[in-house]
Symmetry: C2
Subunit: 108 residues, 2 copies
């Protein structure tokens, strides 16, 4: 989860050199405002589309991030679409569990 | 929250006599499968469209409900759209807080 939470930072540095999607903010367990800032930073950097992704219990935080960005900071940003899905995860004891995912697509 | 969680039950009885939307399942803090059952019951009753609504931390459970209904029980049900919003809530000490909402619209 810590790995997930750090992706927004990484993607900034990786912008020019990698093929990892730069316009994705993975929402994890950090405070909501860290992700809000990450999204604002991406739009400020000139991106026209940013994906807010999360899974499991972080899904509600992803919705919070999208709402806060649009209502409090960037009034010209709209929701292009919201997609949900299911991923299989292997947990510690080797069992597989299903976890829901969300992808909120914001556009300027 | 307890009130919210009971709405799926009420709506079944109220189907013929009230103007409360019958095709809405409010997801609260009960086990996920109770809401899955409520959605399946509504579709079995002949409804073509069911809304799964939730707010705050229950949002991730609402996504779970939608995913489980579609993947495990009703393969012919699709997501027509997902809407998010923000509601103002008055908490115990009289302060107002913003809470995110979700509305997953399923169609058969």
């Amino acid at each position: 989860m810590a790995k997930e939470a750090e992706k927004p930072k990484e993607s900034k540095d990786a912008e020019k050199k990698s093929k990892i999607a730069d316009n994705v903010v993975f929402v994890g367990r950090k405070p909501t405002m860290s992700y809000v800032l990450a999204v604002i930073t991406q739009f400020s950097g000139g991106l026209k589309e940013v994906h807010i992704k999360a899974r499991g219990r972080s899904i509600s935080r992803a919705v919070d991030v999208s709402e806060i960005v649009r209502n409090r900071f960037l009034g010209d940003v709209k929701i292009k679409g919201i997609e949900t899905g299911t991923e299989e995860m292997v947990v510690e004891d080797g069992n597989k569990i299903n976890v829901s995912t969300i992808d909120v697509i914001l556009v300027k």
